[in-house]
Structure formats: structure tokens, C-alpha cells
């Protein structure tokens, strides 16, 4: 064998080795061991109890906190996103007024999920109803289906979103129960901001939680209970 031949053979050997290394990383996909944070558990049912007796008329702290946390503009025009709004209701026979915050009620049987053609609208294992905006096509069928008028459509291009709360044009959004905070062990921004502690957040399935005990000891109602959607948000004093 000539000198050139050996050299060439040696060269081919090494280049074959290099090729093998180049292919190997692709084959390692998803084989690594990961330390995952726990997935949402179906043993938990997140909910809220709103005490209208404590909710002050004219106070907007929960709305402001929500807007700041989720990067909403705070405007209330027809094309602006509102995740939570304050409502004053009046009994016209006697003039008695009640003030309350209204947002996504996180139903057990959410109509928005039923109608979604792309399965973008979904309920997480722990009862939080969310929009997967990777799948949302912006058809707004869920907005029509929601009896609480809880959802908004993003009409304009957005910039400088909160890194924890991605939002964008052409998709539907609503109260996420501050899911990014819940996953960190915090409570939703509105519940934290309420000075009168009118919003009680907790696990409706946990026998030791305050909300569990209160729901069983005080008279509470679900709004539009006749629809049998079993909302996770309950109201006291209506």
C-alpha cells in the first residue's frame, strides 16, 4: 500500500468519527433526566370566595393590581382587555346596592372549553381555566359562549409584556387566576391587593383551608348557578 493510500484511509477514519459525534446529539433528544417542578394536581381545586359586604363601592384596587400584574392597559374601551371589572348592582325596589368584582369564574364545566374548535381553551387539572395562546386562532367563539362576559380579545400589537404573562394580538385572554403566581406558591394579585380582605383565595378541596371552612359555614352563591357550570368563584352576601 502506498504512503498516500494510508494517509487517505487515516483521514477517512477520522472524518467518519467526526460525523458520528455530529449525529449523536440529535439522538439524545428527551433522554436526559430532568428535575421537574410538580405538575398541577387534580386533587386541588383553586377557587375564590368574594365577600360583597367587605367590598367597598368605588374601590378599584383589585382591578389596578390585576392590570399591573398582567400588563393590561387599564383602559375600558370596547377593544381593550379587561380581566376583572368592578360591578355595582342595585335592588331597584329599595335602593340597596352591592359592589363586587367580576372575572372568569373558573367553571368546573366551562362552556368556553366546550366550544373551542382548536382546544386552545382548556381547564387545567387544578381547575384553572386558561387559553393556550399557541393554539388560539382568535375565532372568539369562547367569548360568545361565556355567560360571565369574562373574556377579551387582543386587537392591537403589544410590546413589553410581562415575561411571566405572555399576551399577544389575535388571541383571546381572560383571568388566569394569576397562574404564574399560584405555581410559585403565591396568591392572585387581586386577592393580595384587596385591603378589606374581601377576596379569599384557596383550595376548595383542602379541608384545612379557610375557604373550605367558610364555604361550609356561611351562605354563599355561585352566579348563574342555574347553568350548572359549578364555578370556582363564589360570592357571599348577594
Amino acid at each position: 500500500m502506498s504512503d498516500i493510500d494510508t494517509q487517505r484511509r487515516q483521514f477517512l477514519k477520522t472524518s467518519a468519527g467526526a460525523a458520528a459525534i455530529a449525529i449523536a446529539p440529535g439522538m439524545m433528544l428527551y433522554q436526559t433526566v430532568r428535575a421537574d417542578t410538580a405538575a398541577a394536581s387534580s386533587k386541588v381545586r383553586w377557587g375564590m370566595l368574594i365577600d360583597t359586604a367587605q367590598c367597598k363601592e368605588g374601590c378599584n384596587d383589585c382591578v389596578t393590581a390585576c392590570n399591573k400584574e398582567n400588563g393590561l392597559s387599564g383602559k375600558t374601551g370596547a377593544t381593550d382587555s379587561q380581566w376583572i371589572r368592578k360591578i355595582e348592582i342595585k335592588d331597584i325596589s329599595n335602593g340597596h346596592t352591592v359592589s363586587l368584582p367580576m372575572m372568569c369564574q373558573h367553571c368546573e364545566h366551562p362552556p368556553c372549553v366546550d366550544v373551542c374548535p382548536t382546544q386552545a381553551s382548556f381547564k387545567r387539572a387544578d381547575g384553572i381555566v386558561l387559553v393556550d395562546r399557541h393554539l388560539c386562532i382568535g375565532c372568539r367563539y369562547c367569548m360568545m359562549a361565556c355567560p360571565y362576559k369574562a373574556r377579551s380579545f387582543v386587537h392591537e400589537t403589544l410590546t413589553d409584556q410581562n415575561p411571566d404573562v405572555p399576551r399577544g394580538k389575535g388571541t383571546v385572554e381572560s383571568c388566569s387566576l394569576c397562574v404564574h403566581r399560584i405555581d410559585k406558591g403565591q396568591i392572585p394579585a387581586c386577592a393580595e391587593a384587596c385591603q378589606n380582605k374581601a377576596i379569599l383565595f384557596g383550595d376548595l378541596n383542602d379541608a384545612n383551608s379557610e375557604i373550605y371552612k367558610k364555604v361550609r359555614s356561611a351562605a354563599t352563591v355561585q352566579i348563574r348557578a342555574d347553568l350548572q357550570l359549578n364555578p370556582g368563584v363564589r360570592y357571599q352576601g348577594l
Binding site: A35, D36, A125, D132, Q161, K169
Partner: protein
Amino acid sequence: MRLLGSLLLCLCIPAALAAEANAPKLDVGKGGECVKDTQWMRKNHMHMLKHQRNETVRKGVRVEAEAFKACVECHASTSDNSVTAREDSFCVGCHRYAAVKIDCFECHASKRKEALAKKETK
């Protein structure tokens, strides 16, 4: 066999050299290797992002190191805190070179959280 070998070499070497010469010079920010080595990430980051997004959004599994914002946190430019602001920004530079359009940043923040927080307090 020899013919095949030399043919392969003829094809590979100029391609490799050309790719190296034209490759975009990126502002990698803090950079470094947090999840996987550079070559693996170049080839597979899109699969990882897509896998992780489904895990996080739908199941609530949050892996800090593989979170989208963790990518931005490390790879945003140290001068303007962004992965998309300039021609040579980390995401934009390479995606323009590869002619692959991404829409991640229509929703996701392209800046470091600290940069956004600063802007808010101004």
C-alpha cells in the same frame, strides 16, 4: 468506495467552509452553556421549546432552566437587554440568516425582566 469517499469530501468540505465564513456573528449576551452544549441547542432548541411550552401551559410543569424567559435572561444582549432589537441580536441574527420566521415575540417578552422593570419605574 474510494470514489464515494472523495465525492463526500468534495461535497462536505466546501459546504462546511462556506457555512463557517458566512455564519452570522451573534451578540450572545451572557451566553454560556446552561441546558445543553451549543451544537445541540442549535439543532434542537425548537423541539425543546415546543415540548416545554406544552408541559408548562397545559400541565403546569415549570422547569426553571428550560423556561422561555430563562433563554432570554441569558441570551439578551448585555448592551440593550434584548434578543430581537438589532440585526445581530441572538434570536433575530440567526433566524434571519436561516430564513425562518418566528412569532414567539409577538406574545413573549424579548427583554430581560430587569430591563422592563426599570422602564416601568421611570
